[in-house]
């Protein structure tokens, strides 16, 4: 039993290593100290501390594909989030009205 099982495990693991295309989940661990200009922002995502990451954060995604960790307690951050939401809503209404 032992002699068969051990090599099987070893081979499985080595195969897994070779096939692994692993990208780990990132976490914001610090906030931006200053504002980002609004036009460079493409969207945002929410980091919730009730999940795997230790702090809450709003992650702004920039048009160059980079990310900025910001503090959701700050007014400008939530202002940006609302602005993104509003702009989306306006265009949605416009699109919905169009025949």
């Amino acid at each position: 039993m032992v002699s068969i099982r051990a090599p099987v495990i070893a081979i499985t693991l080595l195969t897994v290593c070779l096939l692994a295309t692993h990208t780990s989940a990132e976490c914001c661990r610090k906030y931006m100290k200053s504002k980002i200009p609004f036009p460079v922002i493409r969207g945002y995502s929410v980091q919730d501390h009730r999940e795997m990451c230790p702090i809450n954060a709003i992650i702004f995604h920039t048009k160059r594909g980079r990310k900025a960790c910001t503090d959701p307690a700050l007014n400008w951050v939530m202002d940006y989030v609302n602005r993104l939401g509003k702009e989306a809503q306006i265009v949605h209404m416009r699109t919905a009205k169009a025949p």
Partner: protein, 392 residues
């Protein structure tokens, strides 16, 4: 208005990130690159070696006890249980490594079961080692009460209590570990200033619809997830704290106090084997400390500083330290069979007999065994026999 600010700062009209990045670099999420590279090596290669060694060593212990131990002593019951805990640990470890490398491809049930059983085995293994130290303390230091306290049903009850306690301590782990895609990775509403994208954004964000980016493979994790804020704060500290307290410091304290008393008694005894017994006891304690202290100190530091803001490089190094020390801690599961079982003369004789029998079975020989079947090893040295640890 915000455009105006930028124009004042930068002469050209292009809103490139590098321009505002010059005076205030972007704070990006930490990706733990160094830890990642280490995990890619340690995960599959080092852990598979640990797993194989642990599997072989502990299987041999269990097989020996299962077939050749007719009169089990209290120590034997403990050693058998430690071997079972370590074997389960060695079986769970490759599955966890496999899932960590394939973004938890085995799904939600495997997530809960593997994290839960990992925790059960960790607690039961550590507490059983503490029980062994207590057993040796009673056998050697409290020798007068030894017969009354070291009975076989007694030890079975203690083992059952240890396993139940380990399961109870693992309930929060089992409950709060969940299989999910983190919200900050799965939901990324994008705003490109174009109608189609915005409609899509609306769908994703307001209606909870699916992303249309089919190219992205879902990244599942098996991590903590809580319903409320307060549970998140408390459980993220309480679960590792319990692991530190009950899974390390309590057994360490018990082992150090019991084995100190054992060593003092052994050194007082007039026994030719006492030095060997002392050396064995010291080896047991030192290996335990060497394996588990570095990991638990790193875990303690990590838990204390969990909610603090920090630089990615520093946090990456902390993760590297955690991965490395955890691997050393895992090594303990393959050292236990050597330190506890194979070091004992009685156990080695049983083991030799089972190996000879297996050899004979393989060769189909009917030759009589050279080893006598009756218990030939009756040490005159009582202490050494009780310690179960006299080397040849």
């Amino acid at each position: 208005m915000f455009c105006l600010c930028l124009r004042q700062r930068n002469k050209n009209m292009d809103f490139s990130e590098s321009e505002f990045g010059d005076y205030d670099p972007l704070v990006e999420p930490c990706s733990y690159q160094n830890n990642h590279r280490l995990e890619q090596v340690v995960g599959p290669y080092v852990h598979s070696i640990i797993c194989i060694l642990g599997f072989i060593g502990n299987s041999l212990v269990i097989v020996t006890y299962a077939f050749y131990k007719n009169s089990k002593s209290m120590t034997d019951v403990y050693l058998l249980n430690v071997a079972i805990a370590d074997l389960l640990f060695a079986a769970v470890l490759p599955l966890i490594v496999y899932n960590e490398l394939t973004s938890w491809s085995m799904g939600p049930v495997a997530c809960k079961l593997l994290r839960g059983s990992y925790s059960v085995n960790l607690y039961s293994g550590m507490l059983l080692l503490a029980c062994i130290s207590g057993d040796r303390y009673i056998a050697i230091v409290q020798a007068r009460h030894s017969l009354r306290l070291r009975s076989l049903p007694y030890s079975r009850v203690i083992c059952a209590v240890v396993w139940i306690f380990a399961i109870l301590l693992s309930v929060p782990t089992f409950y709060f570990y969940n299989w999910y895609e983190p919200s900050h990775i799965s939901n990324t509403p994008m705003f490109d200033g174009e109608g189609t994208n915005l409609t899509n954004f609306w769908d994703i964000f307001m209606l909870g619809g699916q992303e249309n980016q089919t190219s992205r493979t879902p990244q599942y994790v098996c991590e903590f997830r809580f319903e409320s804020n307060s549970t998140a704060w408390s459980a993220k500290v309480a679960i590792p704290s319990t692991q530190l307290a009950v899974g390390f410091f309590l057994p360490l304290l018990i082992m150090i106090s019991c084995y100190t008393a054992v060593i003092i008694t052994l050194l007082r005894a007039r026994n030719f084997q006492r030095h060997k017994a002392v050396r064995v006891v010291l080896a047991v304690v030192l290996v335990f400390i060497a394996c588990h202290l570095p990991y638990n100190i790193t875990l303690l530091y990590d838990t204390v500083n969990m909610f603090q803001q920090g630089e990615c490089e520093v946090l990456d190094n902390l993760q590297v330290a955690k991965t490395a020390t955890q691997t050393i801690a895992y090594l303990h599961c393959c050292l236990n069979p050597v330190l506890y079982a194979f070091i004992g003369v009685k156990f080695r004789n049983h083991f030799r007999r089972i190996m000879q029998d297996l050899w004979c079975l393989g060769k189909r020989c009917i030759a009589p065994r050279h080893m006598s079947t009756h218990r030939s090893v009756t040490d005159p040295a009582r202490t050494a026999r009780l310690v179960h640890s006299s080397p040849p």
